[in-house]
């Protein structure tokens, strides 16, 4: 019901995006801008990697549409994000700046998530309610459930969104998380960004079903599979999931079928295990031009507006790159700091009800 409109004759229609989503045109252009920014930051990271200036890139290209659509239904400051390494668009939507993203890419001292301790794309940002993420996949599902449990017990109105790939969805922690969230009807949404590959292993060797969302039935929660290249389709599904969560009606399982436009990471060459046809098909499912065309066709994005966004994004990425590259490295003397709590650290006192981490 949330897929792109199709007439009875089977011919595709292009419903008006404003009417379809209920979002004003300016908001739709903001979503497009966010996707373009995420893409441009990601592309810059690859250039920095290939020119030897950053050690590692793990890419979000192809995932921006689903994340931008999902996050458009959330409220930064109120809701919690449990990201994974392809959550570039999501962390930007939650308030991380391009400079902060690049500080992390370069591993600088002022990286707000980890002070240069974590690999790139291992996001975290206490100021934005973006929980710290790790490399073992799927573990964050349980943290989302715990955050949602705390919100419920403290009477706080908030939703925890946890994101991961379909590869991570096979982890036992994800099963344990969904089961507990289902039992307690917690305000939590799981987004599986199914790009068809766990590094090199195709979905048919990872997953016994075609659509992961059918797993939701085992946890007594709604499960929806949505076209992850359809930004507004993702938004509409998430809008319903958020309303359900805030109403106390429990969690939702969303599977967005997305495309991975790059290798798994800067250390992977996907032509080794993907056919030319497969790669071409994947490139054809790029959400960025698709959403641009959708807005163009509806007259919501003209050439001038598009050029202005492109210029702004280019400026932001240049600024973030220069800023982060020039920023200070962490002081080696801090290597063993924050293993245990220090006086000004978070968690030294329980935050007051309704408050976030200090």
């Amino acid at each position: 019901m949330y897929s792109r409109g199709v007439t009875n004759s089977g011919a595709p229609t292009m419903p008006d995006p404003v009417a379809r989503s209920g979002l004003p045109a300016a908001r739709l252009r903001e979503i497009y801008r966010l996707m373009a920014l995420a893409r441009a930051l990601d592309e810059r990271a690859w250039i920095l990697n290939r020119s030897g200036r950053v050690h590692f890139v793990i890419s979000a290209q192809g995932h921006e549409g689903a994340e931008a659509g999902i996050c458009a239904a959330l409220t930064p400051g109120r809701d919690w994000l449990l990201p994974y390494y392809r959550s570039m668009a999501a962390v930007l939507a939650f308030g991380m700046t391009p400079r902060e993203v690049m500080l992390q890419q370069f591993g600088r001292a002022d990286d707000p998530g980890s002070g240069g301790r974590q690999m790139p794309a291992h996001y975290g940002g206490a100021a934005h309610r973006i929980f710290s993420s790790s490399s073992p996949v799927g573990t964050q599902a349980l943290h989302a459930v715990g955050i949602a449990l705390a919100a419920k017990l403290r009477g706080e109105s908030a939703v925890a969104i946890v994101m991961m790939g379909e590869g991570a969805s096979n982890q036992g922690d994800v099963h344990e998380a969904l089961n507990f969230a289902g039992i307690h009807r917690l305000p939590m949404v799981l987004l599986i960004e199914n790009n068809g590959y766990a590094i090199s292993v195709p979905a048919e060797k990872q997953i016994a079903v075609r659509d992961l969302a059918v797993r939701a039935a085992g946890y007594n929660m709604p499960g929806v599979t949505v076209d992850g290249t359809d930004v507004l389709g993702c938004y509409l599904v998430m809008r319903e999931a958020v309303a359900r969560a805030l109403a106390g009606d429990g969690p939702t399982f969303i599977e967005a079928k997305v495309t991975r436009l790059t290798g798994h990471s800067s250390d992977d060459q996907q032509t080794k295990y993907r056919t030319a046809d497969d790669l071409a098909e994947g490139r054809g499912r790029d959400p960025l031009p698709a959403f641009r065309d959708e807005l163009r066709a509806a007259g919501l994005l003209d050439a001038a507006a598009e050029a202005a966004i492109a210029a702004e994004v280019r400026g932001l990425v240049d600024d973030a790159t220069d800023f982060a590259e020039a920023a200070a490295d962490p002081d080696p003397a801090t290597l063993t700091r924050h293993v245990y709590a220090e006086p000004d650290d978070a968690g030294t006192l329980s935050p007051p009800p309704g408050g976030g981490p200090s």
Binding site: V145, I147, L149, R154, H338, V339, A341, D345, G347
Partner: protein, 327 residues
């Protein structure tokens, strides 16, 4: 002062902290109406209700992982792992997540959770209800590992663990639950983490130990006292962080160090104490640092004769003290 069993002291510690801090919750398998398989949480559900005393599915990783998330959003979770033997499904959440959330976030997120688990042999628990697991956790920066030996310490250390801003593994030797009694003050008190205590003073041999073995070491010290061997017993109480100063001060006085634990010897916590003493008190030693530890079997077998053969006893400790004293 009232006399309490070891488990009563733990139960009171949980109850008192829940009364003190509305953010504290208890979660684990059977911790609700049943009050836990050992009754450590007995009465909590009746007093605090479903929201704060949560019976979980049989999912140890979930128990820890949800505690981590709940702590990030303002609660003080105290998780019970029904037996330490079953903690391994949660190892990834404990080691990859809880232990390093503060480090990996550069201090911007904390993980104030306490994970309680009964451990140890001697109650016919066999291979999967008797293991000692402390060495796995003692190795991990970011964790604290507490192993009390008396009701007084059990309550005071538990309160400190719950209030601590970092993840604490709190291990309870299950054989002590009802066999060990002691005085516990009625009012508010805490015992700080990371401080050992000298339970018995002596001049000839230092025994460094923790948990149930403290009682066995005291028994052994009594046995050899009549032979003129004055034994000092150091109860570590917390094995991470280790109170090196108390251990070293004792060994520098006696010149002899015996480390005792029920966990098997190879790669066990005794190796860490032995290395500490060798590095920091070498010039004071008048004999080899010696370890008395469990045998090289994965855990205690079921048949009584096998379990008896597995267990450290006061007599085995007395023999080790005599041997070291005579060196």
């Amino acid at each position: 002062m009232a006399v309490r069993t070891f488990i009563e002291a733990i139960r009171e510690g949980l109850r008192d902290e829940m009364r003190r801090d509305a953010a504290m919750i208890v979660l684990g398998e059977d911790v609700g109406k049943k009050g836990g398989v050992f009754f450590a949480t007995d009465g909590l559900w009746a007093e605090f209700g479903d929201d704060r005393v949560i019976d979980t599915p049989l999912t140890e990783s979930m128990i820890v992982g949800v505690s981590i998330g709940a702590a990030a959003n303002g609660l003080r979770p105290v998780a019970e792992i029904q037996f330490a033997d079953f903690i391994f499904p949660a190892m990834n959440q404990i080691i990859s997540e809880a232990a390093r959330i503060r480090y990996r976030s550069n201090g911007t997120f904390g993980c104030p959770i306490t994970i309680r688990a009964p451990f140890g042999a001697g109650v016919h628990g066999a291979l999967y209800h008797s293991q000692s697991v402390e060495a796995f956790f003692a190795h991990v920066p970011g964790l604290k590992v507490v192993i009390p030996s008396t009701p007084y310490d059990a309550k005071g250390l538990l309160r400190s663990a719950i209030r601590d801003p970092d993840p604490v593994i709190y291990l309870e030797h299950k054989k002590m639950y009802r066999s060990v009694r002691g005085e516990v003050p009625d009012g508010e008190y805490t015992v700080p983490l990371g401080r050992a205590t000298v339970t018995r003073e002596g001049s000839r041999v230092t025994v460094v130990t923790y948990g149930l073995m403290v009682h066995y070491a005291l028994d052994a010290a009594e046995r050899v006292a009549g032979e003129g061997i004055e034994t000092e017993v150091v109860d570590l109480r917390t094995i991470r962080p280790l109170d090196a100063a108390t251990v070293l001060a004792s060994v520098r006085k006696t010149g002899k160090c015996l480390v005792v634990h029920e966990d098997n010897r190879f790669g066990g916590f005794g190796a860490e104490v032995a290395a500490l003493v060798a590095e920091e008190a070498f010039d004071y030693l008048d004999g080899p640092v010696t370890r008395l530890a469990g045998p090289e079997s994965p855990a205690a077998p079921y048949a009584s004769v096998l379990e008896d053969a597995f267990l450290i006893t006061p007599e085995k400790i007395a023999v080790a003290i005599r041997t070291l004293a005579a060196y």
